[in-house]
């Protein structure tokens, strides 16, 4: 670790602290590490998948301060002091409506789809301005044709207390 005192200059591995799935953590990262790499390879949270690696497919979706982001486009150092939640934070029961409505087939997109779907389900106020399809546009699925995902989200929203 090397830190110049003046401006917080990092040349090599340094420590970044943030809240991960509700718990504070510190992790040694290189300035070039993407949040996706840190989660998978330093912290062992392999539920988050790399699809395209360029912010198109949404397989690597996590929440950063409560909003869905592509973890392949977040440098880990920008997670400093912030809240990160991964697919591992979702209680398994939350996946039931998606599973029973055929929202998953090969599974490659599923962690990201589950994250964005649960974000939509938890924010019904968004539907005043947005269609579910638009909110889900950043998660590509080549198996389901999306109808199963939309049905699962609709069922989960109806079941909300």
């Amino acid at each position: 670790m090397s830190v110049d005192s003046a401006f917080g200059i990092h040349h090599s591995a340094f420590s970044v602290s943030f809240t991960l799935n509700g718990s504070p953590i510190s992790v040694e990262v290189d300035p070039t590490d993407r949040l996706l790499d840190t989660l998978r390879y330093r912290l062992g949270l392999t539920g988050t998948k790399e699809g395209c690696g360029e912010g198109e497919c949404g397989a690597c979706t996590v929440y950063l301060d409560g909003l869905p982001v592509n973890s392949c486009l977040v440098p880990t150092y920008q997670a400093r002091g912030r809240r990160v939640e991964t697919v591992e934070s979702l209680p398994p029961a939350r996946l039931d409506p998606l599973l029973t409505h055929g929202a998953t087939q090969c599974g490659a997109c599923t962690p990201g789809v589950a994250m964005t779907s649960c974000w939509i389900i938890d924010h019904p106020e968004l539907l005043a301005t947005h269609a579910v399809r638009e909110l889900l546009a950043g998660n590509l699925c080549r198996c389901t044709g999306y109808d199963g995902i939309l049905d699962g989200i609709a069922a989960a929203m109806q079941a909300r207390p």
């Binding site: 200059i9 990092h10 040349h11 912010g55 592509n70 889900l136 950043g138």
Partner: protein
């Protein structure tokens, strides 16, 4: 890679004044796309702006909307005042990628990335936005219309940072934004068009039609004179004079010209 994490805008400006070739980073959605495949991107030095609270947020004053350098597309989408008063900002923001990009991408980043296919820049330009540049030497303001000198050429020196964007509050009688892509979601514009009319006159801004996003003076002149445009073809001469589209992986120059004429014609009829 050398990474600078300044604690204030003043510190950020001192770093830019003292170091050469440092790349400021806000949301990183354009910059990180190349990290996995271009090792040279790792050799660059970066200035992380994300911790600078003074650059955050969307602020309304009596005369203008102020977007901090860290204001994201989602910040504007989530602001009900924006949808009421400057709806093209919200329309364009909703067409940038999807929520995952909207939550991270910034308006300032869209301006300095200088893509000819940008979605945020055309609507800002149609609203006469002003770019506020900060450096250790002081503050400077440049009209967004004058900000591009050529492809990826900015009217901004290396020691200057975009600190904010100012958008005047005015009444508009015409506000339209159209983006033509390969599909409706997650697409990059083949043709983009922002159109406004206010007491300041018509603004016609074209995207993906020239090396930069640009105003279209011949079309604006045509509309100011109140010409009766009876068919899309009547716009061809002005479009030819205002734009210089190219054939590339997304489209052809001829397609772009014809589609722009039809999109503008339809917008004027709306």
């Amino acid at each position: 890679m050398k990474l600078f994490q300044p604690a204030s805008l003043t510190e950020a400006c001192e770093i830019l004044a003292g170091e050469r070739g440092v790349v400021p980073m806000a949301g990183g959605t354009d910059l990180l796309v190349h990290w996995p495949t271009r090792a040279s991107e790792h050799d660059k030095d970066y200035l992380d702006l994300s911790g600078l609270s003074e650059l955050r947020g969307v602020r309304w004053t009596e005369g203008e909307l102020q977007l901090g350098a860290l204001a994201t597309y989602w910040d504007v989408i989530a602001d009900p005042q924006a949808a009421r008063e400057l709806p093209l900002l919200v329309q364009a923001a909703r067409l940038v990628g999807a929520i995952q990009i909207q939550a991270r991408g910034t308006w300032a980043g869209n301006i300095v990335n200088a893509s000819p296919a940008a979605d945020g820049v055309p609507v800002l330009m149609a609203y006469d936005a002003v770019v506020v540049l900060q450096s250790a030497r002081g503050r400077e303001e440049v009209a967004l219309t004058d900000f591009y000198r050529g492809y990826k050429q900015l009217r901004k020196t290396d020691d200057q940072l975009v600190a904010a964007i100012r958008v005047p509050r005015r009444g508009y009688t015409v506000q339209q934004f159209h983006k033509v892509g390969s599909r409706r979601a997650q697409a990059i514009a083949k043709v983009g068009l922002a159109l406004t009319r206010s007491a300041a006159g018509w603004r016609v801004v074209a995207a993906s039609m020239a090396p930069t996003i640009r105003r279209c003076p011949a079309l604006e002149q045509l509309l100011e004179t109140g010409a009766d445009v009876r068919e899309p073809e009547a716009l061809h001469a002005a479009i030819a004079s205002d734009t210089s589209p190219i054939d590339d992986i997304r489209s052809s120059a001829e397609y772009r010209r014809r589609v722009m004429a039809r999109v503008l014609f339809a917008a004027l009829r709306a």
